[in-house]
Symmetry: C6
Subunit: 76 residues, 6 copies
């Protein structure tokens, strides 16, 4: 699990990237066949209901990461 | 990721705008073709279930931003 | 964004009203045509799945507002 | 909004009751016709997907109320 | 509401059990006929979408209970 | 409930593993027949909507675990 050595991120943008990664890796952990995932991705990227559901997962992961970084308040 | 330099926003209204931006950019990060996104947008803006789901994503993003700004209590 | 000058509300009931407003305004921000919104509203108010989904958005918005007001504990 | 004078509840059970009330009143605030609501209720009480969605709304409302009451830790 | 005398649980496992109980009792509070519930249960236990939705309710209830118990940190 | 002796995890990666375990065990607690579960799993691993819903459950469970471990800040 190389992508999750730490929840500490230098910037909000880096935190956002980690949120995307966590969301994507959850899918990969359940559907382990990369070819099947690629086919599924083509489909759901055209389905707004699923795009919205995906963005909700990203929002939840990002909330956790933002908490972990004290919302990057100290960077100000 | 120019839209996410900081979670600090001067006012609740500015925070709300950032919440909308984050939600919209999540969709754009998954469906990267702007023309496809425009077509999808026309559809889902007429579908209440998807409008409600979108507003839920905004609510979660806003919660994170509100926490980050200590709920703008100091502005009072 | 006149409806969101502050997250501070005098009472829980006022906070609840703000939660409803935020949820409704999110929809309006995505579907900007008021006539389309009115038609959609007539439909979804008869669809329990969507009523429940809407009430979930209100619950999340209210949680944020309640946090912002320290749960109105000082009013006791 | 007589049902929401305060988030303070004497016991967890009383807090749970308030969570049910809040969830129910959200529905009533959107679908204001009591007869329509009664008909809808008969339907969705037989639909597990909607029962589960309703119980999720209750869970979120209860989380807010539990936070407001400091989880009733002092009662122990 | 005998099952909710307190949110305090001795162990994380006990807290998890309470989360399952809360989720189940929410359903029972809305669909009050035990026979109807039994029939519904047989159906939804074969429907993965509903199993996943149920597990989300458990996750939210457990988060509240874990907060209430300070995540059982003191047990370590 | 051997998999939940504690919410304390040495690393974020270990915490993520626990989040997957909790999500999976919730399903197993509702659908207790392992053969039925295996069949269901084959189906939903090909259904993106359900993969996304599953990843949301993992995100919520992980948020609780991350809070419990103070986001592994002290490991830095």
């Amino acid at each position: 699990m190389d992508y999750l050595q730490s929840l500490q991120c230098k910037t909000p943008a880096e935190g956002r990237q980690l949120a995307f990664t966590l969301a994507r890796k959850s899918i990969a952990a359940i559907q382990t066949d990369p070819e099947v995932r690629n086919n599924l991705r083509l489909e759901y990227a055209k389905d707004t209901a699923q795009l919205i559901a995906s963005s909700q997962v990203v929002a939840i992961e990002f909330q956790t990461i933002a908490m972990a970084n004290n919302y990057w308040r100290d960077e100000e």
